[in-house]
Point group: C2
Chain length 460, copies 2
């Protein structure tokens, strides 16, 4: 759905400057769809269309726009419009916008806020990036324990319009300390005279703190299936609310980070195309150089076996095949283990059963590849008509080396993430390229050791 | 939080069979936490503790249990308890349980359901795995357009207890056709005499169909930030509702699949430790063999250059270093591109600007590695005291080969996902090992070509 080209009829109406028709159409659109349409337009047309939207829809649409279009509209719209949008958009979306803008621009915009909104914006921006504080909205409704449902309903009708969510109403004591939550479900199902205190259970309340990492919030939402969670300060006072719709975005960002790490690259933190090319290169160069320096050991290992190599060049020709098999099986295993660790399916304590499984897998997979490799060597020699009994020994060498190296790959791929986790590091650091590098170096040593053993007196 | 050891005090109460104290404690726990505690217990203790829970909490806790514990409880609890749980648990969680159970067991359990629940369960199980139908709940509330808020509230109080969510109430016509949705927010904020028809807007409604893929539902939830979405049949009749809490799980499953694919392994679809070892081996063997067969071309390529090899064994010693650099840069690029495609940050149409970026990155990164490689060769020869002018040529060969091969890696890693997407295939198929294999083969050809060119008359 994302990135669909602009509908031809809309395009035509824009060309013909038929704004009243556009206005009618847009009124029936969802803010998310309007935002996509506007993002797809050339910059000079964005403001023209945006101005056609009624005020409330305009603000909602603005919240869904990508950062570039938001920035463009901020300069293209009148100061009055910008002031309205900034003051009426939800606090968490505004924080997301302000944190992306260059400092001086953000400062200018802050001046457009009412005193109340200014204070809110300042407070939220003070929280660290990727903290719960940056996602939270201070617009929540709080009621008292001794109210009945009628009073709550009355209160909501009067003060609820600004609230980020009405799916959960919070219950606080006279000092603002969080005492419980009243779900819209409970509110709607209870008879009008029922008291809040008879519905809520104080002990069963899950809270977040503003300084917590957003990934903690994601875990809590996944675990408890809430639509919103309250944010409290260190004394238990309610200061904000985080809603579940933000969590799908957090989940997406976390996934991107995980995947990039596993691909052997520092997390980009910005869309690929938006990041200046030298930044991308910097993010990639670090790991690439580390891996390169590690991989240099392969050259040293091979130099060590130069004597064997010069006697049997054929050994050299199978090196890439053999070490890559170790790398592939290793990155398969690392993928499985890192993911299982992240999902909590396995813990460090399971290392022995993991190892047992991976030894079995390694032997089985190594056996399969070893057999194929053995036949490859023999068949090749036969085809070229150069077969003699020493080829059998080469075939056996390749086969046995493959079994050992695939086994090595599965072991390295499984134990490395667990070791990293044990050392308090991120298991995802044992990326596919990282595991492959380790297996390459040890693989060469194994291969030549097997060869020295089996080919001594035959080729060597 | 997941996988925490059982709290010592709970353990002690279990040992001392102090069930009344446990009962008091459990009453204050969240179902998700109770489920974790019970999952962590040995199988023979699970039922003992589970029976301590009051009925409603028991059902909720059961919904959060992992499949193994659910299965264990189904055999350990009385038929009466099982009947109660199965009939009162939410329809979507029940579907998830029944679909995992062996056919005959599921059939036995279906017999315990009331006629109404039996019909629901049968209907939901008929939808394909990973379809929206498997997530949906048929327990929703629907109201009519000409009702006022008072009537709606009355209706909810009478019939709302069973409803999966009350955050959204659906509006249907006399035939059950979906006409709009009334958010709890709107319901709570509107004056009692306001009519439904004056609140809802028929055009602004996002719907799902039961046969759609769950990933489509995830996209819709991400895009529109809803807490629930209605499911309609092909004629627009409302048949169920999907809630956002299920989406975090769908997102997690999708991420697991993506990561596993990228690690060069078929998606497991079950937790690593739960899948029988031979299944894991089967899932891994396919790709591993395919890659192995592809990688065999490296042996052929090297056999082709055997003549060069025998003249300059030193060339062989740098092969793993050089081809792995191509593989690493290729898997970095593939990671970035596959992810950006998945997020809609880039589309196939951007191929030219992607290529431009990757040529630049490839040259820069290749340049860095090439320089390091060059100095490695020269320094090494000096240290060993075997330096002679021909080593300079070897150094230059290694350096230039690195630039070419890293560039090749970035190009293959970026264009392959785009080509796969263009061909209607999943870009994630161009996994790290897949790209590495392609680069290995072509890398060897490039390396020896550069060597033949530069070392002709020197070493060759």
């Amino acid at each position: 759905m994302i990135g669909t080209p602009i509908l031809p009829e809309i395009r035509e109406l824009i060309e013909r400057r038929n704004f009243s028709a556009l206005q009618r159409i847009f009124n029936d659109w969802m803010p998310a769809d309007l935002a996509e349409l506007i993002s797809d337009l050339p910059e000079n047309e964005q403001a023209i269309l945006f101005r056609l939207l009624p005020k409330e829809l305009a603000t909602e649409t603005f919240e869904y726009l990508d950062f570039d279009s938001q920035q463009n509209l901020l300069t293209a719209l009148t100061k009055k419009d910008v002031t309205h949008i900034l003051n009426s958009m939800s606090a968490d979306d505004r924080t997301a916008l302000l944190e992306e803008l260059p400092g001086p621009v953000a400062q200018e915009l802050l001046k457009l806020l009412s005193f109340k909104e200014f204070k809110i914006a300042k407070t939220l921006l003070a929280y660290a990036e990727a903290s719960v504080g940056r996602l939270m909205s201070p617009d929540f409704l709080s009621v008292k324990k001794d109210w009945d449902m009628n009073q709550v309903l009355e209160y909501i009708r009067t003060y609820g319009h600004e609230s980020e969510t009405l799916n959960v109403i919070y219950v606080v004591d006279d000092h603002g300390k969080l005492k419980g939550e009243l779900l819209a479900r409970e509110l709607l199902l209870s008879p009008p005279e029922k008291k809040v205190r008879d519905i809520i259970s104080e002990d069963k309340i899950v809270t977040l703190t503003a300084t917590q990492d957003q990934s903690d919030a994601l875990e809590a939402f996944k675990r408890y299936d809430n639509v919103a969670l309250p944010v409290v300060d260190s004394n238990g006072y309610l200061i904000g609310v985080v809603t579940v719709d933000d969590m799908l975005d957090v989940a997406e960002e976390e996934e991107t980070e995980d995947i990039q790490k596993f691909g052997g690259i520092e997390a980009l933190e910005e869309p690929y195309m938006d990041l200046p090319i030298h930044e991308v290169i910097k993010k990639r160069a670090v790991w690439l150089v580390v891996l390169f320096i590690g991989e240099m050991l392969t050259a040293s290992a091979m130099a060590f076996f130069e004597d064997e190599l010069s006697k049997a060049i054929v050994l050299a020709t199978y090196i890439p095949l053999i070490i890559s098999s170790g790398g592939n099986s290793g990155s398969q295993t690392a993928t499985l283990i890192i993911r299982s660790l992240a999902l909590g399916e396995i813990t460090i304590r399971d290392w022995l059963s993991v190892m047992r499984r991976e030894v079995l897998s390694g032997l089985a997979l190594g056996g399969i590849l070893g057999l194929i490799g053995f036949f490859r060597v023999i068949t090749w020699a036969h085809i070229l008509g150069i077969y003699n009994p020493s080829w059998l020994a080469v075939g056996i060498t390749v086969g046995i080396a493959l079994i050992c190296i695939v086994l090595l790959g599965t072991l390295a791929g499984s134990m490395l993430p667990l070791l990293l986790k044990r050392a308090g590091l991120d298991p995802a650091t044992s990326s596919a390229p990282f595991v492959a590098t380790i297996v390459d170096v040890t693989g060469i040593v194994i291969y030549f050791s097997v060869a020295s053993l089996l080919l001594r007196g035959i080729l060597l």
